[in-house]
Symmetry: C2
């Protein structure tokens, strides 16, 4: 398959042909759904998740061709190579071992001839010990008061996953610690946090692999100055999560503690490493973090060991390719019918769009088929009252519906229209995929629904830490399986470099202007000059 | 134009032809941007907003054709008809008078022969008086304590706009009142709010035009039961915002106060009515709400009075049509470089996708060109560290960048790399549109950028209430101008009805099961039965 164009693969060609067949009126979902055992034939149970793809626009022939495509592209082999530590991040010559972060088996995993598991276990132990000391009041701020606020300073992969998990498990947070995220370099972000916290009881966690990320460094400087101005010793209120030997791991720059990240775990895949581990263990307790890891491991093993035909994230990836490249849907929505999952879409948006929004293959050849999807979403039923008008009657886009059988809160029993809130939620979760698929004709064309709009439904038993880990790992595995089909590298992100370079040039102009107010920005293009002048015109 | 197909309009045909020309290599943005006075020629100042569309893929010829299209479609006349109260919501036989909610002129506005302005002014006065009494401690909860928590119970248009504005102006909230939003019927949403508030000092605002919205009624019942269980009199802790004569405006169901909504203001356009007015006046004070209204009015007058060639929201709508129907971009991102605008995209997502995600014209004929866009977004620079990889090297999508010259917080002065946080933010705001437009070739194809990716930039002087009103009204006017080109009705939402109908049938099954646990769901299709059984299998 390597070097072969996607459109040259026999299964790909047959899928393109079959897409025409699926677009015929008799293959409308309203007909497909009437087939006997449609749900049984197009759903799976595995690793604690029920996955229903019966409302996708596909039949047995499509699935067979997709499985053939999976074989042609060596999806399983590539996944196993990833888990074993092969350097599949070829452009950066690195392994991609986020699965090792939640490996609790005894097997060694070698990178450059060295087993990485002892280091991973050591970091987990460091986190466990540190969190327990903070919770016991043995580690405190500089005035001896226990920590009650944790502020994560980090951006992108250094916070989105943690924010998702913290929000999902919020009702379990019983450590008397609040968590906040200082991500944006916008001073409004810092200002609003600074006006909320009690500095004496605040612990800042600076998360940056290189410890040079511009936004994170700027926010760290503000936080240092703020704590110093309050008469507190920053060295006793800051910890870092960073690479060994980075400027954030420098003994001459004392902090309470430093926890290590590894170059074989990329930011957007790092929530099960110390990046998520430190803040989540402080917020929820290390035990819950470990349950979360074990759930993720459960899905990792499913993705690695299940045959293609029973492999939930692999099949979800194949369906994503089908929708994207054959049926022509450029966007995909994630709609959890669970408020605690309100940050899931934002996390998967990063995970998937940064991984798979690429223009060249692993070998640097231009793609002959577009990769990547626009991912967006809000929880249901909220989304129904927001953008579902377009989902039903405008441009169609495939949807992942997510349902949870048991909610966090069970004590509120009032009924409205004869059902509990949770039942009302489910009446909508059940109705929406059906309405999208079936459609409905009406004499009034404004009230007609064309239907044939695809979706999948994922069901979790509850929002336990383990299930959140399973859900996270499901989307991580789905993302890399997609990339393995497209034959792109889901672990680099060179696409963000050009903007950084240009910003550096613009920053230099600002530095000169800060030093000398007469500076006139004559060296830059007229549009850049205009905006620099506009900024400096501010009061 | 009425009854005429879009593709039959001469300007439309010429635009289609010109789209081919714009796609030629010599029309790449890197060349267009080298034209003399590019910024001056393709930017506008008006109603407190600077609007730069120099980085859109267009030239003078495109603009001329778009202006011709605007004339053919009668955009200005339709807008004026809307503002004057004509029943342009034809499918529901209603006026669309959100602009009247912020009208402070003396002119009457007639609907069915009756001037609606006295009623609108009366509601504003009611809000002002009520808010001032709450702030003065003259209206309190049932135990005499002043209100400190306001919980808005409402979904979709009954909260998204208010949440956006409350978040944007949060640093100005000096009334010692916290605001929360209970939107989702998910019991987790209620549970997490119930575990946060002090019931004695909590005021619930139930917002529903019909006072029958399933989610809002379910949450209201939970809240009533909760307050009653705490020994508090709900009648002294609830207010309603609803239509005159609805079940929420029934004296036999006593509440502290009721504020009226009108059938000529739809939910997604209602933040300047009592829907936003009541909670925002409690949170920020009525004066700031009025400043917000006056800013919105300022942009309304600009949209109504400016000639087509100087009309910012109208031009933004034309560019949206150009990108959507001629250049083939199905999605659009809103990226404010301002954390306080973090809820803007979610609000505009509803406003625009619910308004324009339609399949038939005003006359009920099928559209010959797709309408509506997928709208999404996160604040910059966060978005750069999330999905901008795809923006630069994957599927392109047009972007609105938004910059603010003066942030809320000015007291934090630490510099990093020689610049303040706010300057760092702007270095990115300036760099990103340039990087997207210009691209860059590199020997390493993985580090090459094709460029030619379009964006606009909007600049506000600050985040004052007035400017937030201007920004809101800009997007409202842009949305309706788009609809006026497509000749669709942006004020109905029949697309959400089918899901509601199906949910009602499913709810009936649940009610029977709640009454009789032997009920077997034999009357429903197999997939629905499976999910009902799954739900009832919960612990």
């Amino acid at each position: 398959m390597t070097g072969m164009k996607l459109s040259d693969i026999p299964a790909w060609k047959n899928l393109a042909r079959h897409a025409d067949i699926i677009s015929r009126p008799e293959k409308h979902l309203k007909h497909l759904l009437k087939e006997k055992d449609r749900l049984i034939n197009f759903s799976l149970n595995g690793a604690g998740i029920f996955y229903d793809f019966s409302r996708q626009r596909l039949d047995h022939r499509v699935m067979d061709l997709l499985f053939e495509l999976a074989e042609s592209c060596g999806l399983k082999q590539k996944f196993i190579a990833m888990v074993r530590g092969e350097k599949i991040n070829t452009t950066e010559n690195r392994a991609a071992l986020h699965t090792a972060a939640r490996n609790f088996l005894e097997n060694p995993i070698f990178v450059d001839g060295k087993d990485v598991m002892p280091e991973i276990r050591r970091v987990r132990d460091d986190i466990k010990l540190f969190a327990s000391k903070v919770h016991a009041g043995k580690i405190t701020g500089s005035t001896g008061k226990p920590f009650k606020h944790v502020v994560v300073i980090g951006i992108g992969g250094s916070y989105l996953g943690t924010e998702f998990v913290a929000q999902a498990l919020d009702p379990l947070a019983d450590k008397n610690i609040e968590i906040m995220f200082l991500s944006n370099v916008d001073i409004n972000n810092f200002g609003s946090i600074a006006s909320t916290i009690d500095p004496e009881t605040t612990l800042w966690i600076v998360i940056s692999k290189s410890y040079t990320t511009a936004e994170t460094m700027a926010n760290t400087k503000q936080a240092y100055a703020f704590m110093t101005e309050k008469g507190l010793d920053p060295g006793q209120h800051f910890i870092t999560v960073t690479s060994m030997g980075s400027p954030g791991d420098d003994p001459s720059n004392p902090v309470l503690s430093s926890f290590h990240m590894f170059d074989f775990i990329g930011g957007r895949y790092s929530v099960t490493s110390a990046v998520g581990g430190v803040p989540l263990s402080l917020y929820l307790g290390y035990e819950r973090f470990e349950h979360f890891l074990k759930g993720a491991q459960d899905m990792d093993l499913h993705a690695q060991d299940s045959p293609v035909e029973e492999n939930i994230p692999l099949i979800a990836a194949l369906i994503s390719i089908w929708n994207n490249n054959f049926l022509g849907y450029p966007a995909h929505a994630i709609i959890p019918y669970a408020s605690p999952l309100s940050k899931l879409a934002a996390h998967i948006q990063q995970l998937n769009m940064e991984s798979n929004g690429k223009s060249v293959t692993q070998k640097g050849e231009p793609l002959d088929e577009p990769s990547g999807n626009i991912i967006f979403g809000e929880p249901g039923t909220n989304a129904q009252h927001s953008f579902f008008q377009l989902a039903h009657q405008g441009r169609p886009f495939p949807i992942d519906f997510i349902g949870v059988i048991n909610p966090h809160f069970k004590q509120y029993k009032s009924q409205s229209k004869g059902v509990t809130n949770h039942q009302e939620l489910w009446s909508n979760l059940i109705a929406q995929p059906q309405a999208l698929a079936m459609g409905k004709e009406d004499e009034n064309s404004a009230k007609s629904f064309s239907g044939n709009r695809p979706s999948s439904t994922l069901i979790l038993n509850d929002l336990s830490p383990g299930n959140i880990g399973r859900l996270l790992s499901f989307y991580e595995a789905k993302t890399v399986f997609e990339a393995f089909v497209w034959n792109i590298n889901p672990f680099d992100q060179f696409g963000v470099e050009l903007g950084k370079t240009l910003a550096t040039n613009i920053r230099k102009q600002m530095v000169i202007k800060n030093q000398s107010s007469e500076h006139l920005f004559n060296d830059v293009d007229p549009i850049t000059r205009f905006y620099l002048e506009t900024l400096f015109s501010g009061k």
